[in-house]
């Protein structure tokens, strides 16, 4: 899968590396700002209060 991705990328090595770094940053940003906050609501809530 990733080997195929590497092959379809155009340009010389440094162009491919730059494209991958930018793509990784974009994925990371999407995760941090949208995906993780959305996933978070399904994670078992931590209880911090005292109650009967």
């Amino acid at each position: 899968m990733y080997a195929a991705l590497w092959r379809v990328l155009p340009g010389p090595l440094w162009v491919r590396v730059i494209i991958l770094v930018v793509a990784f940053a974009a994925v990371l940003g999407a995760l941090v700002f949208w995906v993780f906050p959305w996933v978070d609501q399904f994670v078992a809530p931590q209880d911090v209060t005292v109650s009967q």
Binding site: V39, D40, V48, V50
Partner: protein
């Protein structure tokens, strides 16, 4: 050892390799290969999520809450509450009914860092208060400065991690609660560890149900140990002094309150 001449004989001619009949075997896409890479990717996502939830988001939320609190304080500066005439020796107390999830106070604890400035909202709802990074006021407990117990709860880690360093408080450390009226200064007294059902800690006189309070307490509750909800960690403080808003913030927290920390 192969002779240089033999080597050249079996090697394909230079430049003809790409179009040759026997291309270098390339990684073929197989179901197992893709599945394995997807699983590795999923594992990396889980680790990234944990890093975000336990560490990165606390920094992001903490910075946002600090900014919000500085703004709230400045809003209160422009419109200070109606000047009450507190009884001699007694601080003013919020008498208005506060709606659930409404923010009405701010918490400042110098021991937790110079930029520690977090909002306190009414109620201890998980989604509408605690998971927004706010501290939740137990609605059955008293207001700041009132005789009795001002009890608030918050997360130890994640969702802002408001009480991450609750176990690092030193006896005598100052805990400040800011309202529209001014700053209530409490002194940290001791820690206690109880079961999740230990509701006695938020009694007007902690652990003494039905006793008339003669002191003004603050109680912070959070989960213990780290990453567990098996117990609750409790921090108690007792009321020290009150500084009216007109006098400006106490020197110890002036930099935090004005946002110049």
């Amino acid at each position: 050892m192969t002779e240089p001449g033999q080597d050249q004989a079996v090697a394909p001619p230079a430049g003809g390799r790409r179009g040759g009949a026997t291309p270098r075997p390339r990684g073929r896409i197989s179901v197992v290969g893709v599945l394995g890479e997807l699983l590795i990717t999923a594992g990396v996502f889980v680790l990234l999520f944990l890093g975000w939830q336990q560490w990165l988001n606390d920094i992001i939320v903490g910075t946002q809450l600090h900014g919000q609190s500085v703004q709230q304080s400045q809003t209160w500066n422009k419109a200070p509450g109606p000047t009450k005439a507190p009884q001699p020796g007694a601080p003013p107390v919020i008498t208005a009914t506060i709606a659930n999830a409404q923010k009405f106070a701010l918490l400042i604890v110098p021991r937790f860092g110079a930029d520690y400035y977090r909002p306190i909202a009414q109620g201890t709802g998980v989604q509408d208060v605690l998971n927004k990074g706010e501290l939740g006021h137990y609605p059955t407990t008293q207001m700041p400065g009132a005789l009795g117990n001002f009890a608030i709860a918050s997360h130890r880690k994640a969702y802002g991690g408001n009480l991450e360093h609750i176990n690092e408080l030193h006896v005598g450390d100052h805990i400040f609660v800011e309202t529209q009226d001014g700053w209530y200064q409490y002194e940290f007294r001791n820690l206690q560890f109880v079961k999740p059902t230990g509701v006695g800690v938020i009694d007007p006189v902690p652990e003494q149900a039905g006793v008339q309070p003669t002191d003004r307490m603050i109680t912070l509750t959070s989960c213990n140990p780290f990453f567990s909800t098996a117990e609750r960690i409790i921090a108690y403080g007792s009321f020290d002094t009150f500084t009216p808003r007109a006098d400006g913030p106490p020197a110890e927290i002036a930099a935090t309150v004005t946002g110049r920390s």
